[in-house]
């Protein structure tokens, strides 16, 4: 039986980061992946959505340019070519992961892995069964779209993020069940392709987990793009009707109506993928695998990372967890630190945040001060004909930066400036004092910080 120091089950951002770190620290590492390398993020998540959002951004820019006096003639696009570009991006990144794994001598096994408590793993490869043994095992099996139980759902054809990025057919209308991060990003993609999009969200606002002002800002923008947003609404029933689907929706006031669309996308969340793990009888934390701050599961020598353990379910968090788990699997004793985790939503405009909100800070007993600076007062944003805001939350008496939220162009890049200050424990004085280029969007951070001095 082949024996490895560390075996990683799952080749997504959590798994391959763990495998690469373990390969640096340990002797031999195996990575087991049943699907393509890169996991949800690369294949049916972050990367395809960002590629398509780039298309949406350009389409929106062309529309906007007309108001500036730039005419391009009638706008046309090829869904096939757009999908092909998306696939090229994915392939390039996937090849990159495979190459790095190879260069670090990580043994990659294709197939479903079944993990046994004695840390042997049976792999169902296309060529048959293989069994390997590992000193430590890192579980990084990720998640899959959560399918809510809605009447009639088993009899209709609906999309999840697993399928929608591969459809070249552009529907006339699309209902998105769920107004979270995935729902609003896809609403942006499809509305730019002239699809009538309806978001059906059970909470009282879209992005219920994000800053309320940011949520409201995006709501207005989506509405301007003719996206219909139904909040406090739930789908009661789904039914195939002709070529499309008929949805029975109960709205916020309790009224029930019928809504006909070509396609439905279900985006209400993700549930952990526990396949191949049942023999371990892992202690659970709700739907997710329970781990301690060292990412150890209830079974000795078995670690878990990423969407499998819940938390914020972000690719970069999974990677960070993967590296901590790998270090611990190789004899170190690291703790996972979640204090500085940026959260990015790649809508138009983008939303980015890090740290905690004003509300949360108050709940934790901080004396809080908040500054909000509108991008309408920022020269670069005006030159770009863009809008948004920067909001910074600090704690007194030390001027500690507790969190920030930004809405606007490129804020998913800008947020890292706040992250860096938080990570290096800078205070609002340093944030205000640092010289930034002029004109730049990021000047808004300095302006917001200065208003707190």
């Amino acid at each position: 039986m082949e024996t490895y120091d560390v075996a990683v089950v799952g080749g997504g951002p959590g798994g391959y980061a763990a495998a690469l770190r373990a390969a640096r620290l340990a002797g031999s590492v195996a990575l087991i992946e049943k699907g393509p390398l890169g996991g949800t993020c690369l294949n049916v998540g972050c990367i395809p959505s960002k590629t398509l959002l780039r298309h949406a951004e350009v389409i929106e820019l062309i529309h906007k340019a007309r108001q500036w006096g730039i005419e391009t003639g009638p706008l046309s696009f090829s869904p096939e070519q757009m999908l092909a570009r998306k696939n090229r991006v994915i392939e390039k990144l996937r090849d990159g992961i495979a190459a790095v794994l190879k260069s670090r001598k990580v043994a990659v096994f294709q197939g479903q892995g079944v993990v046994h408590p004695d840390r042997t793993i049976t792999i169902h490869t296309p060529e048959g069964m293989r069994t390997i043994r590992a000193g430590s095992v890192i579980l990084a099996t990720g998640s899959q779209p959560l399918i809510p139980s809605i009447e009639g759902m088993d009899r209709v054809r609906f999309h999840t993020t697993d399928t929608i990025f591969d459809t070249a057919r552009i529907p006339k209308s699309l209902a998105i069940i769920g107004g979270g991060v995935i729902g609003v990003e896809l609403a942006c993609i499809y509305s730019s392709l002239n699809v009538e999009v309806t978001i059906i969200e059970a909470a009282d606002r879209i992005l219920p987990a994000e800053d309320e002002e940011a949520s409201r800002f995006l709501h207005q923008r989506l509405t301007k793009k003719k996206v219909k947003i139904w909040t406090g609404a739930t789908v009661q029933e789904m039914r195939q009707a002709g070529d499309g689907i008929s949805l029975t929706v109960k709205d916020a006031s309790g009224g029930v109506g019928s809504h006909h669309v070509d396609e439905v996308l279900v985006a209400v969340g993700r549930t952990p993928n526990l396949s191949g793990l049942s023999e371990l009888r892992l202690e659970m934390n709700g739907r997710f695998v329970a781990v301690n701050s060292h990412l150890e599961t209830s079974v000795d020598g078995i670690y878990a990372v990423g969407d499998l353990i819940g938390g914020c379910q972000l690719a970069h968090v999974a990677s960070a967890e993967g590296m901590v788990a790998a270090a611990n699997a190789c004899g170190q004793r690291q703790k996972m630190d979640y204090r500085v985790v940026p959260r990015c939503i790649y809508t138009l405009p983008e939303i980015a945040s890090v740290g905690i909100s004003e509300e949360e800070a108050k709940k934790r007993g901080f004396r809080v001060r908040t500054a909000k600076y509108p991008l309408s007062a920022n020269g670069k944003a005006l030159a770009m004909d863009e809008d948004g805001f920067v909001k910074i939350v600090i704690g007194e008496p030390y001027g500690e930066i507790l969190g920030a939220v930004m809405v606007g162009p490129h804020v998913t890049e800008m947020i890292s400036e706040i992250s860096a200050f938080m990570y290096l424990e800078g205070t609002v004085e340093e944030l205000a004092g640092m010289i930034r280029p002029h004109p730049s969007l990021i000047e808004a951070i300095g302006d917001a910080a200065n208003s707190l001095l």
Partner: protein, 429 residues
Amino acid sequence: MAEEIRMPKLGATMETGTIGTWLKKEGDRVQAGEPLLEIATDKITIEVEAPASGILLKTYYGPGDVVPVQEIIGYIGEPGEVVPDSPGAVFPAGDEIPQPSDGKIRATPAARAAARRLGMDLASVRGTGPKGRIQKEDVEAAYQQLQQQVKATPLAQKIAGKENIRLADVQGSGIRGKITRDDVEAAIAAKREASESGESRVQTRKVEGMRKIIGERMSQSAFTAPHVTLVTEIDMSAAVELRKQLLPIIEKKTGFRLSYTEIIMKAAALALKLHPAVNASLKGDHIIFHDHVHIGLAVAVPDGLVVPVVQDADRKGLAELTAECKTLARMARENKLTPDLLSGGTFTISNLGMYAVDAFTPIINPPESAILGVGRIHEKPVGVDGSIVLRPMMTASLSFDHRVMDGAPAGAFLTELKQLLEQPFQMLL
């Protein structure tokens, strides 16, 4: 003219003294000869008397400050008399600025107080006052600079500043030892815990003065000298009889009552003379074999222990030893021992026989190389000529420094001591 109070030189080898407690404070009226302050040397704490009568105008140092001998530590004079702000400075005359003299640090009392509060060494502070005198602001600025020199995140620095945490005392857990907010918060929690435990009923006392000296000397001895302790039981029947007969005679002659301590001391002194390997000291690479036998006697005093020395114990009779031991013990309890009476020992006896202590392992009193620990005398069944009889038995333990001697000579010494005490007439040889 104000009278100087100087750090006294209490022994030939004394170079510095540690200020203990000022028994008077600035502004108090003092009489010449009245106890003024306590000074700790490396051996004892001693009271210093006021050299003159008047007002205590100035005290330059506080508890724990180490001051070279003969340095001015304060002034006594008439009310309103002007004395220098710092001990090194000469008297201010009119508006004249004090002239710099030697390499002594000049600092205002406020600066010294600030330095003490912030744990700053004045030697590391640059003075900006007249003629370079260090002012309070200089100390604070230097402290700030030091705070920033230590690698700490801005947030950690800020929290430390607000919470009065000295960053130099905080262990950084960040990358390359950088101090983070968590480190400072741990330091705050530790400080709070310390102060809270102080508020509770648990009494704490700062380790200072004699306690500190004992602590340092005992640790130094216990952790540097490899100790071996030999134990023997001594039949004290004859010694008991000896004491019974000599006690009234010695009491009549000297006014002091003979105790077993003196008998044991006499026996030990004679045994040491016969076993010079035990009457030795380690100094650097050399073992010094002493040609005299000076025996230290551990005496318990309030909050501590002192070891006055009986010189040439081997050459003194029991009457003389009794008078001397009793006098030294009384002086010890009254804190009247002078450093000369506390130095020069070549061996120590620690007698806990007045307690229900059978035996113990004494720690050697450096620079000596051996110490005798004496337990109580009590009747025990012992085998004598094939039958069990009750005899007054005493346990003697000898700790010795294995760097200086080995088990055989130490054992020979202890055997000799046992024989001398069991057959005390041998002491007459």
